[in-house]
């Protein structure tokens, strides 16, 4: 029997995962700023309040530290909160609760407690929102043991990964690129889950490996088409979760291709691209034909003017250029 599949957006996929999980487990509740009556600024939670009521779909004051703090306490005492922090930039206001409380309580208490909690947050530049509504801070949270960091790039992965994140007994930062909410794709029906820590190979290739996270998949696929026309075959891999990281799939690809480029929308300095590149060279140094290349966001606060902002985000053109340089 084939699984029926429908087409929908990432927004639809996340909304569906929330509906299904809340119907499955009444310990799950969601809270955040304007997620109830208004359905969220990006309308991701539309209809949930009507379906599950205002107790379980809870509009909060604008108080990120308090929201996350309450979620930690609720998670310790039997609930499974799913929190929306409207913009990734605003998670910095909840840093103590994420970094010092949620991430550490299990370890510090030698396993006496667990924090089954998901923080959904909208990241990424490109929306002309300037420097305080455009950041991609995944590297901050990957740096902290005890947190998991998930970054879907397709509707199917958004649904499958969110369901897994909600069922996970650890605090999970679920990063949604705000430019991808309308991205369409297949949404598998029913109880579809994607395991955390499992990369997805989007395109097979044998001349270079391009590892890309979240919305960076799309410029990379565009670049792959351009390069294919030039006779260069690249393998495109989305790790899907950064913590835990499916190192094996990434390394195996590089053992095959001998060339690697890592693309992520976080800042390039001290970022996700740096960590993945370091791990690849530790495991695959002898198989590399040249240094691993990296492409992250430009190391500047995200500017407002479109003519400036576009220069800071990794583009298909730049990816093509780098791969050509690598193959030259």
């Amino acid at each position: 029997m084939s699984t029926p599949e429908r087409t929908g957006t990432i927004r639809d996929a996340i909304n569906e995962a929330l509906h299904e999980e809340m119907a499955r487990d009444e310990r799950i509740f969601i809270m955040g700023e304007d997620i109830g009556v208004a359905g969220g600024v990006f309308k991701v939670t539309a209809g949930l309040r009507e379906a599950f009521g205002e107790e379980r779909v809870r509009d909060t004051p604008i108080a990120e530290a308090g929201i996350v703090g309450l979620a930690v306490g609720a998670a310790m005492t039997g609930m499974r909160p799913v929190v929306e922090i409207m913009f990734n930039d605003f998670t910095t206001l909840a840093s103590d609760q994420l970094v010092n409380q949620a991430a550490k309580l299990r370890y510090m208490t030698a396993g006496q407690t667990k924090i089954p909690m998901v923080i959904r947050t909208a990241m990424g530049a490109g929306r002309r929102a300037a420097a305080q509504h455009s950041q991609s801070l995944q590297a901050w949270y990957c740096h902290i043991p005890g947190l998991k960091v998930v970054m879907p790039s397709t509707p199917a992965d958004a649904k499958g990964l969110l369901k897994s994140a909600i069922r996970d007994d650890n605090p999970v930062i679920f990063m949604e690129d705000k430019m991808m909410y309308a991205q369409k794709g297949e949404i598998p029906d029913g109880d579809y889950t994607t395991p955390l820590g499992q990369a997805r190979i989007h395109r097979q290739g044998d001349e270079a490996t391009v590892i890309c996270t979240s919305s960076m998949l799309y410029p990379v696929l565009e670049a792959a088409d351009i390069l294919a026309a030039e006779g260069i075959s690249i393998e495109v891999i989305d790790p899907r979760t950064l913590s835990p990281l499916d190192e094996e799939t990434l390394v195996n690809s590089v053992l095959k291709t001998g060339h690697a480029l890592v693309v992520d929308e976080g800042y390039q300095s001290f970022g996700v691209t740096a960590e993945i590149a370091a791990r690849l060279q530790e495991k695959a140094f002898d198989y590399l034909d040249e240094p691993i290349r990296r492409l992250g966001a430009a190391d500047v606060p995200v500017p407002f003017a479109p003519s400036l902002e576009d220069l800071t985000i990794p583009s298909a053109e730049r990816i093509v250029e780098i791969v050509r340089e690598m193959r030259a």
Binding site: R27, F29, E55, R56, T60, P61, A63, A65, G66, I67, V68, G69, L70, A71, V72, G73, A74, A75, M76, T77, G78, M79, P81, D96, Q97, N100, Q101, L105, R106, Y107, M108, T109, A110, G111, Q112, T113, K114, I115, P116, P145, G146, K148, D168, D169, N170
Partner: protein
Amino acid sequence: MKQLEELSAPSVVGQEEQELPLDLLLDMYRRMVTIRRFENTTYDVYSRGIMPGLAHLYTGMEAVAVGVCITLHKQDNITSTHRGHGHLLAKGGDPKRMFAELLGKEAGYNRGKGGSMHIVDMSLGILGANGIVAGGLGIATGAGLSAKLMKEERISVAFFGDGALNEGLFYEAANMASLWKLPVVYIMENNSYGEYTPPSKATAGSGPARAEAMGIPSKSVDGNDVLAVYQAAVWATERARSDSGPSFVECKTYRWRGHHMGDQGDTYGYRSQEEIESWMTKCPIDRFRSYLLEKGPVEEITLHEIDRQVEQVIDAAVEFAKQAPYPDPSEVFEHVYA
């Protein structure tokens, strides 16, 4: 030895409190003496170089933790502070496992991974001491939210200091507790210093006024009078249990020892020996002891017997901890994730 007549009588001497059962009063006394003995022993162990790191002692503040926790049930939650030994003991924490944790031993509550500032006992509803000032306020309030959502008959108490009153998290959490009528009690321990700075130089206005501004009823009591704390705690916890929302109680008290172990005498020059000694004459334990002997049907020998039993328990606990093994090195990578 201090003269009992120098001590002022407990401020609340009325019909209600005279009806308190003797076993409750003796339980209060036992818990207070347990905390005092535990902290004195901790100081001793630290001074002899047996304890790694340091600790923040609760000496002189015993009436607050005991007056509140004696009103709580086992399933009720508390969050504590960096100065947490008193709250844990008052809520029923096991001195053996606490000392073992202080010494970094495997038999400790947290298998040596937390130390003094991070002890948790989920079976007693103790959601943890906390190394971040105000760090427990979100957790306690969230536990109140979960009790409400799960329709469970448990309430949540957040202990925090006068210093935490100036952290933003208090306002974010307490505001939601008030909006949503959560079963939470905020106990502000005003022990006269946030580290080395008195509230007069740190806090504009007052804790109770700030709570009232958020629609949270408040009281301010003598935190060295266990019966006054108890009465305020009964008021606050009954409000929480009857779905009337959060309450706020300021308990005015004094920290005999320094902020931490390294803060002794004039090290930091922020308070005088005379000030410390004047507060020691207001010792909450001496004061309650004298009250029990004068007002209650308690023989001195009964209190001596409790003192002796507590000494045995604490001495055995610290001995147990000293003998206990350190955790196996393999444990360093355990418990990062569930």
